[in-house]
Symmetry: C2
């Protein structure tokens, strides 16, 4: 079936290709030439849509955050409870990793020292949103006896976010996605509260079905 090009469609394709490139090779690991080759246009054409690489990078983060927020809203709607929310959150990462990719923002965090200031600001915002969402889930989940942990939800959220990003990075480095799955299962198992633990044992296991 013939693909009809919408206005702005090329810009979206560029973002899609660039996002995958950053998520695999990093912001300093790809060039306009890479995108041009895959899209079969010239480098000059890309500069029409994204005047500078900095601007492209900024738009990449914003797009990634928008998609992520949508995913989180989907989880909030569909999840069975707060423990399930964490499991679904982990499954997002597992899905990205299954495509051989890193979290866009985890990748950029590693390159933070070399990023233009315009990108650093929006990058921060992505992590803030993640932590805030996680902290909310943790706080509500503990109140409902679904989650069990000591200390402030915000601190556990910080720990979880870093642990997920780090587990993802090492799993990809090893070329073994199960390294992420196992780490995520460990982390979540430690958070399982009495309510969920009972249901888990009733179902006969503690697996989080992240696979």
């Amino acid at each position: 079936m013939q693909q009809l090009l919408q206005p702005g469609d090329t810009a979206q394709r560029i973002l899609g290709i660039a996002s995958r490139l950053v998520q695999t090779r990093g912001f300093n690991g790809f060039s306009y030439a890479d995108i041009a080759a895959e899209l079969q246009v010239t480098k000059a054409s890309l500069h029409y849509h994204f005047p500078s690489k900095t601007e492209l990078g900024r738009r990449l983060i914003e797009r990634y955050e928008r998609n992520f927020v949508e995913a989180l809203q989907g989880i909030d709607r569909e999840a069975a409870g707060d423990f399930d929310r964490l499991a679904r959150y982990a499954r997002i990462y597992a899905g990205v990793l299954a495509d051989g990719q890193m979290c866009l923002c985890g990748m950029l965090a590693a390159e933070h020292a070399t990023l233009p200031e315009a990108m650093r600001e929006v990058l921060q915002h992505y992590f803030d949103i993640n932590e805030h969402w996680l902290a909310g889930v943790l706080r509500r989940g503990r109140k409902a006896d679904e989650l069990r942990f000591e200390g402030a939800p915000r601190e556990v959220a910080t720990m979880l976010l870093g642990a997920f990003e780090g587990a993802m990075m090492l799993a990809r480095s090893y070329g073994d996605p199960r390294r992420f799955t196992r780490a995520a299962e460990r982390l979540l198992a430690d958070l399982r509260g009495p309510a969920v633990a009972g249901a888990g044992r009733a179902r006969g296991g503690s697996k989080l079905h992240l696979h």
Copy 2:
């Protein structure tokens, strides 16, 4: 006092400068020109000591691993117990972060897709050694009731390694080392066994003194 140059001294200086550059900017984020400027020699001189950037990268990892193994042996000698071993392990990371740097190998793991094969091999080895050491501490610590956790020591080691690396990356991205400290304290607190927990309460706190 006049500094006497030993043979091989220049090579060591190059490695020192290059290591810091990789740990802050990444392997794709620095060049021979950066090292040359800081050492006040020409780029050509650097190629005498390290013919290719790949070779320099390989040597960087080997050096970093050697230093790290020494540090681990120091911990094994001096630590009061297995919980203290984990705390000291975390403190190594905290020290690196205090200098505004990332773990060399954590940085390289992010850039894994763009690394030459010769570097990937030695990089893997660094993580294997870390996991093996952590797993040993965990196994012995659990037996001694100093550490408490479910599942295989190896899996918890995988989780811990990823969590430390990830926490480090995000803390540096935020420019806030305490983000690492808090995450590490959370992780270790969850591993505290009855023996250590008792001593901890007796001393009146659960802080790991990572600061």
